[in-house]
Amino acid sequence: MRRYLISRFIQMLPVAVVVSFLVFSATLLLPGDPAVTILGEQSTQAQRLALRQQMGLDRSIPEQYLRWLGRMLSGDFGASLSTQEPVAQMIRNRTPVTVELSILSVIFGVLVGIPAGVVAAVKRNTWIDVAASLTAMTGLAIPYFWAGILLIMVFSVHLGWLPSSGYVPFFVDPVANLKAMLLPAITLGSGLAALIMRQTRTSMLEVLSADYIRTARAKGAREPRVVLHHGLRNALLPVITVIGLQIGTLLGGAVVTETVFSLSGLGRMIVEGIFQRDFPSIQGAILVIVFSILVVNLLTDLSYFVLDKRISR
């Protein structure tokens, strides 16, 4: 286990280095003088000089990168150019929103996608299967922001059941928090539910045609036990892969979902940063998002190790 973990971690390192360099190089790629681009034409010479020194633009590129990386690793993401607030603090404030949104949308995706996939596989080639497949296909084609807008129109504006915006921390008021996060989670989780449904259906069809399932049925096991105990348990591994691979898409989708529902998460921090040309906050938020994805990918690989005895052997 330890050797596997170390080897996967070593494989991740080059990607992590490239990712950090790509994020760092954003300021190098700014057209013209980065200090003027960031601060604007109206900025004074003294302000530009201070920013150049703060960003280390007067040094060589490898030196700038290493200094920047050192600061990032020590948790110093710099200060926001628009509010002067430490970016690390902004990230700390906004991460819980994005994390909760992602977790709830995965829960929604699993709760809807797995049962729908199992039913579609068991009722193969019936109207239930066709309906589930068509719903999944449509779910994959609906952009997050349109799904969010439609949900707000129905459940917030017309029915008045759920709020359309605002965030209450879970530990302040759990009920208000879940009410506020339900629509965003459904918005972000709908595409994942569709993917999980399709993957579960495919895996279940494969597993249900295996010899040991026939054996279980021949031994008189009841159908629900055959499907859930023997079938689903063995069909879940590819589903976990799909969930792991979709974390990146989810965090990308969180950008628009947070905008639709006015949630102050990491995604919205990037968008606000772009409008305010606040590069430290854009870099900080992107770095945290991409490194989270790398860590989740690592954890997904480790979950195979735990769940699939063939790998751990």
Binding site: L22, P31, I142, P143, F145, I149, V255
Partner: protein, 297 residues
Amino acid sequence: MSSVIARGPGDADASPSQSISVYGQAFRKLLRHKLGRSGLAVLVFMSLVAIAAPLLAPYDPTTVFYEDFLAAPSWRHWLGTDDVGRDVLSRIIYGAQVSFQVITVSVVGSVIVGSAVGMISGYVGGRLDHVLMRIVDGMLAFPMLVLALGVIAILGPGLTNAMIAITIVNIPGFARLVRGQVLSARNLDFVVAARALGASDVRIMVHHIWPKVAGNVIVYASLRGSAALITEASLAFLGLGVQPPTPSWGGMLTTSMQYWNAWWMSVFPGAAICIMVLALNFLGDGLRDALDARLSE
């Protein structure tokens, strides 16, 4: 993607006329594929509507009807009007032009650059391959929209920059795909024979290897079209893509969020995006099945 095996003109025993017939057969198979055929039909219809927008749109997309602010669908305005009294149907029709422009430019751009990177990386190999593929891996670690936002942060908002951003985020996928195909093709007999006959590296890559990988690239490109459309619509929705007053489906949805009771402002542009994404996905599925030699056999 690796399951797709296209038999193109690069095959040792394939003449140009045979390769044309291979693609001709694939097209006929696509027309027999129900979903692929319907996707193609919808896309052809939408592209004709986009091209003929000045003839088909009932009004100019920027014309303001002062007496018709937020008017519901009616005979005068079939899909209603927006907050400043512009005809929603006309804006959707003109918005299709933007969508097709972005999809075409960004997918073609990423096919050209990504294929070139993948081709050189796979063919040359060694340290260059290692460096290029680590960069590609790094770019693939970013969610598509987040990477696009990073590019927009550097270049600034706007249609051209959105197209550049969408092109850049699609390059790594094509590079990875083509590199993998080149690695398996570069030691095939017809490539070795061409090299033995003194063909230059560029000639081998362009005339012998590229036709071998083109089928897979076409399929992947059709599947990336829908992702490009969603990214463009997302950027426009966030206010970072097409800028007003140019109509774009994503931008129309942003405005709709200020007028929740005017349901037509959000339902119709969103449906347009959804229909085009579905059509692109269906076409991609159809092309994959049509060009997959193993499936066809």
